[in-house]
């Protein structure tokens, strides 16, 4: 199925949000996730099944003034 990650279309196998993040080897502690404009807290990543055409924003804190 297709989803959008940070604006880019990606083809993935059906999985949970936690599985996708693990697959991308991202540092979960630093990550903030918005799914279809709803913030998903880390506790809910393992139970959030991704759906066709979901829009994910994967964000993290960086240096800024």
């Amino acid at each position: 199925m297709n989803i959008f990650v940070n604006g880019n279309k990606e083809r993935i196998e059906p999985c949970t949000l936690a599985q996708l993040i693990a697959c991308k080897k991202l540092d979960a502690g630093a990550l903030v996730i918005e799914l279809n404009r709803q913030i998903i807290k880390q506790d809910f990543w393992p139970t959030t099944e991704l759906q066709e055409d979901d829009c994910l924003e994967m964000l993290s804190f960086v240096g800024g003034g």
């Binding site: 990650v5 940070n6 604006g7 991202l26 990550l31 903030v32 804190f61 960086v62 800024g64 003034g65």
Partner: protein
């Protein structure tokens, strides 16, 4: 001076130098700078993750006693700033938010109108809103009425290190706005930070001038001295200026004077 606390957004700060996390050569310099400067509040930004690269978690470099001030940099509208603020709070960064809405990419001038709209929305949602603006008295009054926790006028364009180019306009804010005035952006030297504090600013926010100094830790310490000196001078109430000289030693009754 001992009890001279800055009350900002329901918190008390004994240090009036706010700092930023941008532009450091390496993140390891940040905790050293914080220790040397005594800064108790620091800005961070929120960005899309580069999925192809491993990145460090900047929050790990900020000690727990330092209050986080996430900014909404990258926002081009009030709506985007509101969205970023909500994400930052959900991410556990607390209630403080620096509103930064920039539509002009040449001078990075804040869009005061969009900033006011975002402040109105976020203050109602319980955020401690610190709007970054071009100093404008009627706007600052509107921000105050909208529930802003402080007003952050710029001294000069972001990262320009040109100092207090807007000094007379900032003075109007200091004189007439009751929430704290935090001079943000453009301060390039400790002497400029001292000047802002001497004129009665409640705090200053310095990022570029510290982060891009050869020694950010030492520069953080220098800014701490400057902010404390300026604040102490303001509280001591400075003597008046005069066009003509006023002798500081007696000029009469000396030797062969009749």
């Amino acid at each position: 001076m001992k009890d001279d606390v800055l009350r900002l957004g329901g918190k008390e700060f004994s240090n009036r130098l706010l700092t930023g996390t941008g532009k450091f050569g390496n993140h390891g310099q940040i905790p050293k700078m914080l220790a040397a400067s005594g800064s108790q509040m620091i800005t961070v930004a929120l960005r899309r993750v580069d999925i192809t690269a491993q990145s460090e978690n900047i929050l790990e470099y900020i000690p727990k006693h330092v209050t986080l001030l996430p900014n909404t940099s990258g926002a081009r509208s009030a709506e985007q700033a509101v969205r970023i603020a909500r994400i930052a709070r959900e991410a556990g960064c607390g209630d403080f938010i620096k509103i930064e809405v920039i539509t002009d990419m040449k001078y990075l001038m804040p869009d005061n109108w969009e900033t006011l709209k975002a402040t109105e929305i976020l203050a109602k949602e319980g955020f401690q809103v610190l709007p970054y603006v071009l100093p404008d008295l009627p706007l600052a009054k509107r921000l105050e009425n909208a529930g802003a926790a402080a007003v952050m006028p710029l001294g000069a364009p972001i990262g320009s290190n040109r100092g207090l180019e807007t000094k007379p306009l900032i003075a109007m804010l200091i004189e007439n706005v009751s929430v704290p005035i935090v001079v943000d952006a453009g301060i390039g030297k400790p002497s400029q930070a001292a000047a802002a504090m001497e004129m009665g600013a409640d705090a200053v926010l310095v990022n570029t001038a510290i982060a891009t100094a050869r020694d950010p830790e030492a520069m953080g310490r220098a800014f701490d001295f400057a902010v404390k000196a300026g604040r102490a001078a303001y509280l001591a109430e400075m003597a008046e200026e005069s066009t003509l000289a006023r002798a500081s030693s007696p000029l009469t009754g000396f030797l062969d004077e009749v």
